[in-house]
């Protein structure tokens, strides 16, 4: 899992910035960038939108990156924040789809579980937890959700996330902290509600 999300320089010798620069004359080289980052971008996108829409946004991201490769800031050796920056904009265009996707998770019917009692309990708990978290995420503003999920579902550092979203690092920290607090509160209320309902 972790290794799949690790940036991999498939040919080893070239920095992203060099690959992009060279790809202006030799577009064939753009494949190197795809091989380095497609997997990470896809993994993040499918968590946000589901696998089908993820394919579309990842394809759009690479096509946009390809069209704009001459504008890449060559002083940044690693292109990951740049690519994620394009990706989050593409995802933002699918905001309704994203909400629908999360709602489906939040209200998904509990699957029938068979097996030993412990497993049944575990799976029911997991189901309740996932639905609760999805509901809490839905309660966030789009900007809060974008940042929180970028940190939770990609392997970006705070610094990289700041670059992706074009925010000062201080804003990233404060917005993230507020978003986490909201989710915590929402989860606590949700649990209390469930307890009341069961009584």
């Amino acid at each position: 899992m972790a290794s799949r999300l690790t940036p991999v320089a498939s040919d080893g010798a070239l920095e992203d910035a060099s690959v992009l620069r060279a790809s202006r004359e030799n577009p064939e080289l753009f494949a190197v960038l795809y091989d380095r980052y497609a997997e990470q971008l896809f993994q993040y996108a499918q968590r946000r939108l589901g696998p089908d829409a993820a394919q579309d946004v990842v394809a759009e991201t690479f096509l946009a990156a390809f069209r704009h490769r001459a504008r890449y800031d060559g002083t940044r050796p690693i292109a990951r924040p740049w690519l994620f920056g394009i990706l989050v904009k593409e995802i933002a265009r699918h905001r309704r789809k994203e909400r629908t996707y999360l709602k489906a998770v939040a209200s998904a019917p509990r699957e029938t579980v068979d097996g030993p009692a412990e497993r049944v309990v575990d799976e029911v708990m997991a189901w309740a937890s996932r639905a609760g978290v999805a509901a809490a995420l839905l309660a966030l503003s789009a900007r809060e959700r974008e940042l929180l999920l970028l940190i939770a579902w990609s392997e970006l550092s705070y610094e990289e996330a700041a670059e992706v979203l074009g925010l000062p690092i201080g804003t990233v920290r404060s917005r993230l902290s507020r978003a986490r607090q909201k989710v915590r509160r929402q989860l606590a209320e949700g649990t209390a509600k469930n307890v009341r309902n069961e009584r």
Partner: protein, 314 residues
């Protein structure tokens, strides 16, 4: 369980596809390959940029220049061979090299032979790319790099074995220094240096091995530093021995190699003297639809010296 862990768990449950679908790659790359006619060969200016090229100290005999093979079978790894022992022998050989003690105002001159795979294709901006084939470009290469990076340098190329005119590619200062003073002279210090100064985006062991190549390539390393680099390589997990290889100049050698993501990176040494000859990357697994055995890049150092002026030969 805190809320971040719960969000991560939710993410895992939403990740239905373990991998990006294979068709996505084709979809993206078939529309990101505009271009016109046959591609000119990318200029190989070497070092930190585009191009891997190899280097090393010590004056080696001018090699017989043979056209580098198109690749075929992959030379197998000898699992029973002792990579650390080979690297130790290489370290000892490195210690026998001359200490050139370059001055900051001088130039490091490196003469080498390199060979790279170049893809040919046709297609327009909106057209589907059509690959028309590959060809190998092999060059004789002479490079002058400023010792401290503050002076202009020069790279000179001509097709291997052509005996024709040289193409001059001027290098404008500032450039990366060709000689870094103060690099570690012991294995432990070098190991720490390699892992700390690896700036690529690769997994750490892979990057540490690659950084050794970057450090050696068209630079001057004093004997003790070079020896430390080889000793440090012995401590990198996954390093193996490939007994029978040839460098880009056709010289037989033995390689210390590390395989990652379908590519095997090799540092090649003389099979008898263990002197460093050059480097090579070869496809050994699945990599960009290239057949196994494809040599993507190879370089052999023919000569390395310190000189006072551009275009001066030792």
């Amino acid at each position: 369980m805190d809320e971040m862990t719960m969000i991560k768990d939710l993410g895992e449950s939403l990740a239905r596809e373990p991998q990006a679908p294979g068709g996505l790659r084709h979809r993206v790359l078939s529309s990101t390959r505009p271009g016109t006619a046959t591609v000119r060969r990318p200029r190989r200016l070497g070092r930190r940029g585009l191009v891997p090229v190899a280097a090393f100290a010590a004056v080696l005999l001018a090699a017989t220049l043979v056209v580098y093979g198109r690749g075929g079978a992959v030379e197998p790894v000898d699992a029973s061979a002792d990579a650390p022992r080979l690297l130790l022998a290489a370290a000892e050989a490195a210690l026998d090299g001359p200490d050139l003690a370059p001055r900051p105002d001088q130039l490091v001159y490196v003469e080498s032979v390199d060979s790279a795979l170049v893809t040919e294709y046709t297609g327009g901006l909106r057209d589907r790319l059509r690959l028309t084939g590959h060809h190998r470009e092999s060059n004789e290469r002479q490079a002058w790099w400023s010792v401290d990076g503050t002076r202009d340098g020069l790279v000179r190329l001509r097709p291997q074995g052509s005996g024709g005119a040289w193409e001059d590619l001027p290098l404008t200062a500032p450039q990366p220094p060709a000689y870094l003073a103060g690099l570690p002279e012991d294995a432990a210090g070098m190991r720490e240096y390699l892992y700390r100064n690896s700036h690529g985006a690769n997994p750490r062991h892979e990057q540490a091995f690659i950084t050794i190549g970057d450090l050696i390539r068209e630079s001057y390393l004093p004997p003790r530093v070079l020896a430390a680099a080889f000793q440090a390589a012995a401590g990198i997990p996954g390093v193996e021995v490939v007994p029978n290889v040839a460098d880009a100049a056709g010289r037989p050698g033995v390689a210390v190699a590390r395989e990652d993501h379908g590519i095997r990176h090799e540092l090649i040494f003389d099979a008898k003297t263990y002197r460093f000859l050059g480097e090579r990357s070869i496809v050994v697994g699945r990599f960009e639809e290239q057949p196994r055995g494809t040599v993507r890049y190879a370089s052999a150092v023919v000569r390395l010296a310190v000189v006072d002026q551009i275009s001066q030969h030792p």
